[in-house]
């Protein structure tokens, strides 16, 4: 076998970690050791890990702050749900979900691209402001929109369900204003979510270690030098941001196909949700893809598990945040980790060489 570089090894470890996590969970589920509460968290924690990986591509690799990734999840969730609800009776499950997934991701990529065109030409923190506004606008529009379909075609209204003028017999409501979309088939499950997480990881990791990834990171490190070295700054910013948005959209597809009623609520798709994703990325380590996965999983599950300890829940959550931050960012901890881990891997290598 060819010798793997350090980076390639690290990539494989990340993928192996996710697979191990999946297998362990499956064993617990099969043997009945996992509570149904915990089981219900598996899909969400996986889609939040996916969204965090996407966001890290934007924040950590490209070096642009986005405060609208929950908005991208929202686009993915709604566009795929609309398709699934409309074709619920017409298509079998597998092709329906595949098409819904493609539509959700494509719509999100398109919107990411369109937002990127004006914003990414500018240098400065404009992206943060624009994405923040974008997320809120999307959420508010989706809260106000009524959409239905009958034999005459698609009907839209911003007032109420009645003003859509749906045919009474053949009409079908799809988006019911703030009540959202009901009846999205629950096509996503833990296995599918893990597969999509693995695919997202492979895409991001392979991209990072390629000429395009180096171009993206060179812009992050020094835009002027990158330009003078022949790097097309706008193109690579667009590429990274669009892929980043698309991955968040994929997380959104899993989101909407995992719940029966999809509403554009602030806690799921507002700026606070975007900031929660950012917390996952920052605490997992900016630019550290594996860290995003771990942080998202821990930080999503933890408050859920602590629900029983009402009083201390937020206290414990904050302590964990602080500990993770210290672990990832304090120079002493980094030093310790490097020494510790390198010793460990050296020993491991020696053992393997025997």
């Amino acid at each position: 076998m060819k010798k793997l570089t350090k980076q390639q090894k690290s990539n494989l470890i990340t993928l192996a970690m996710v697979v191990c996590f999946y297998l362990i969970c499956e064993i617990f589920i099969r043997t009945g050791l996992m509570s149904s509460h915990l089981k219900g968290l598996l899909v969400p924690l996986t889609y939040y890990a996916i969204a965090a990986v996407g966001l890290n591509l934007c924040v950590g690799i490209l070096g642009e702050l986005s405060l609208g990734h929950a908005g991208f999840m929202c686009i993915g969730a709604f566009s795929s749900s609309i398709f699934s609800v409309m074709t619920r009776d017409a298509l079998p499950t597998v092709p329906r979900f595949i098409l819904a997934f493609i539509i959700g991701v494509a719509m999100t990529a398109l919107l990411g691209f369109l937002i990127g065109i004006p914003v990414l030409r500018l240098n400065g923190d404009y992206l943060a402001i624009v994405t923040l506004a974008f997320g809120e606008i999307i959420k508010n529009i989706l809260n106000a929109v009524y959409m239905g379909v009958d034999d005459k075609g698609l009907h839209l209204s911003l007032k109420d369900a009645a003003s859509m003028g749906l045919d009474a017999s053949t009409g079908k409501k799809i988006i019911n204003g703030a009540m959202g979309i009901t009846g999205t088939p629950s096509d996503s499950n833990f296995t599918i979510a893990i597969i999509i997480l693995l695919v997202s990881l492979i895409i991001v990791q392979n991209l990072v270690q390629s000429r395009d990834g180096r171009a993206i990171m060179s812009i992050r490190d020094n835009r002027i030098a990158a330009e003078s070295t022949g790097i097309n700054v706008t193109k690579y910013k667009m590429l990274a941001f669009t892929i980043s948005a698309a991955i968040a959209g994929a997380a959104g597809v899993l989101f909407s196909h995992n719940i029966s009623t999809l509403t554009a609520q602030g806690i799921y798709f507002g700026y606070n949700a975007s900031i929660m994703l950012l917390v996952y990325v920052v605490l997992g380590g900016i630019g550290n893809i594996r860290g995003s996965v771990i942080a998202a999983m821990i930080l999503y599950v933890l408050p859920e598990l602590l629900r029983g300890m009402d009083k201390y829940r937020m206290l414990i959550y904050s302590i964990v945040l602080i500990v993770m931050m210290l672990f990832n960012w304090s120079p002493k901890a980094i030093e310790f980790r490097q020494n510790h881990l390198s010793k460990f891997s050296k020993r491991f290598r020696k053992e393997a060489a025997r």
Partner: protein, 253 residues
């Protein structure tokens, strides 16, 4: 025909006429020096040549082609590469990856090939690795290929910047104070390296430098800038013995 032909280049920043009627003509294979006291406008000339600023007036002709108003990326593609006075490396990339960014346009493959790890990806990456190591070898940096570039000592960071610029395969290489912050030993070594690349890379070099030993040691011709205007130009020896030039330098110190 000369490689670089600059006619009456002008730029002002507000009321400051930073570069005033700048002319230069550099022949293929020249090792040309641009000198002058602090604030004379030398770096501004580089910024004009590389498209960081666009001139208020004047023309820049490279190899017979008018490149006056091209953007930095297109100036690079046209054949100009540079280093920076205040080092601008890609600090969170390894030494080798810094050079590989320089090779970006030379071994292209698509993002899809990268994600799918197609044979095209592996082939191009292998060529890039080989070329990058060759270049690092020239600058005695091969041993540090996997070091994070920000962890290199200062002198080596300057060399790495030159290696990265060379990787883009330029016709004209602009070096902005390549010896700044180097000790005399390092400077002597750098002089050898600059001579070596001029000889072996079939390249033309224009450099800004304050170190007169380096300038008189390797530059064949000089242009002296003072307050944005050309004070003198010609053979290195003649220029350096020009009383006006000596006065400008002494007046500054």
């Amino acid at each position: 025909m000369s490689l670089l032909e600059v006619n009456d280049l002008n730029i002002s920043f507000g009321g400051l006429h930073a570069v005033h009627n700048f002319n230069i003509s550099i022949e293929r294979g020249d090792l040309y020096g641009l000198i002058g006291p602090n604030g004379a406008g030398k770096t501004t000339v580089f910024n004009l040549l590389t498209g960081v600023y666009s001139p208020d007036e004047g023309r820049i002709i490279l190899d017979g082609r008018d490149i006056t108003n091209l953007k930095p990326i297109d100036k690079n593609k046209a054949g100009i590469a540079r280093t920076f006075q205040n080092i601008r490396l890609f600090k969170d990339l390894s030494v080798k990856d810094n050079v590989k960014v320089g090779l970006h346009n030379i071994y292209p493959y698509s993002a899809l090939s990268a994600i799918l790890r197609t044979p095209a990806y592996h082939k191009a990456e292998k060529q890039m690795d080989e070329r990058a190591m060759e270049l690092l070898e020239v600058f005695d940096l091969a041993g540090e290929a996997d070091t994070m570039s920000s962890n290199l000592p200062y002198g080596k960071q300057r060399k790495l910047e030159i290696a990265r610029a060379l990787a883009t395969n330029p016709k004209l290489l602009l070096l902005d104070e390549p010896a700044a912050g180097m000790n005399p030993n390092e400077t002597a070594e750098l002089m050898d390296t600059i001579r070596f690349i001029r000889e072996n890379f079939n390249i033309t070099i224009l450099l800004i430098e304050h170190d007169m030993k380096l300038v008189s040691g390797i530059c064949e011709r000089l242009t002296v800038l003072n307050f944005g205007q050309i004070l003198a130009k010609g053979d290195t020896k003649e220029v350096l013995s020009n009383p006006e030039v000596i006065k400008a330098y002494i007046g500054e110190d």
